[in-house]
């Protein structure tokens, strides 16, 4: 049952991912990416981490995609991007991508360790938000603070970059 759900979710996610890359209109790309992010949130639910699924929905679907849609709306991209793909060096790039993909799949499928390992998981403990919070706010407190400073710096940077100066800069 769970495997059937996983296969459904994975199919939709990969299809939406291909739509992101192949769509002509950037708005369609953004919407396809939104579908893909919802599927990834469902994958997080299958992995028994509900808090990450919620964060995924809030941050990616709620904030990042909407930000992209605002920028697409602001910039009037319809006139741009007449040709979808780069002109120069496409064959070399495709060969490189195929090599990378082949290498990744060879490594994944060739590792006996990955398939043989009988992993003992603790479902009750692992799915609790409380346990996650305890580790996050004790062992990883300093990186958490650093992340908040980085977010503040990004906020200030984005405002300064997009600000229109009076001398028309």
């Amino acid at each position: 049952m769970e495997q059937a759900f996983f296969l459904l979710i994975a199919t939709v996610a990969v299809g939406a991912g291909i739509m992101v890359v192949a769509a002509r209109n950037p708005t369609h790309s953004a919407m396809a990416l939104m579908v893909c992010f919802v599927q990834v949130a469902a994958v997080f639910l299958l992995l028994r981490s509900p808090i990450l699924a919620v964060i995924q929905m809030f941050v990616y679907v709620g904030a990042v995609i909407i930000l992209f849609l605002f920028v697409i709306m602001m910039l009037d991209v319809q006139a741009e991007a007449r040709t979808r793909f780069l002109k120069k060096g496409v064959t070399v790039t495709i060969v490189g991508i195929c090599l990378l993909g082949g290498e990744m799949f060879a490594l994944l499928l060739g590792s006996d360790l990955l398939f043989a390992q009988s992993l003992n998981l603790l479902p009750d403990q692992m799915s609790s938000v409380r346990g996650l919070g305890e580790v996050l706010f004790t062992e990883y407190l300093f990186p958490f603070e650093v992340a908040s400073v980085i977010l503040l710096a990004a906020l200030v940077g984005a405002i300064i970059l997009t600000r229109q100066t009076e001398e028309g800069g």
């Binding site: 904030a63 992209f68 496409v90 996650l132 940077g157």
Partner: protein
């Protein structure tokens, strides 16, 4: 019970699709969207390992990845808006201001 390798293969497929978008598309916006896709596929791997090894650290690193991604998107779109205001192009191979 879904095996661990299925999650890793899903992550790898999404990563390859994302890298094709980053390397092949001309539109800067699509390049940024594909970058988001790649970061998400990495998150799938982190959470899958976290679940199967019974360790919270993978989920915590995934949370940090999401936070840094949000910051990156804000700055990247700010740069994009400033670029379009100065240069009026969205194509990656026409942005050669820093080429000397």
């Amino acid at each position: 019970m879904v095996p661990l390798s299925w999650y890793l293969i899903l992550g790898a497929v999404l990563f390859v699709v994302g890298i094709a978008g980053v390397l092949l598309r001309r539109n800067v916006l699509i390049v940024l969207l594909s970058l988001e896709l790649m970061l998400n596929s990495v998150n799938i791997n982190l959470v899958a390992f976290s679940h199967f090894f019974g360790d919270f650290r993978g989920q915590i690193i995934a949370i940090f990845v999401i936070a840094i991604t949000a910051a990156e998107v804000a700055v990247a779109l700010g740069v994009l808006v400033a670029l379009v205001r100065n240069k009026a192009t969205l194509e990656v191979d026409e942005v050669t201001i820093m080429k000397g």
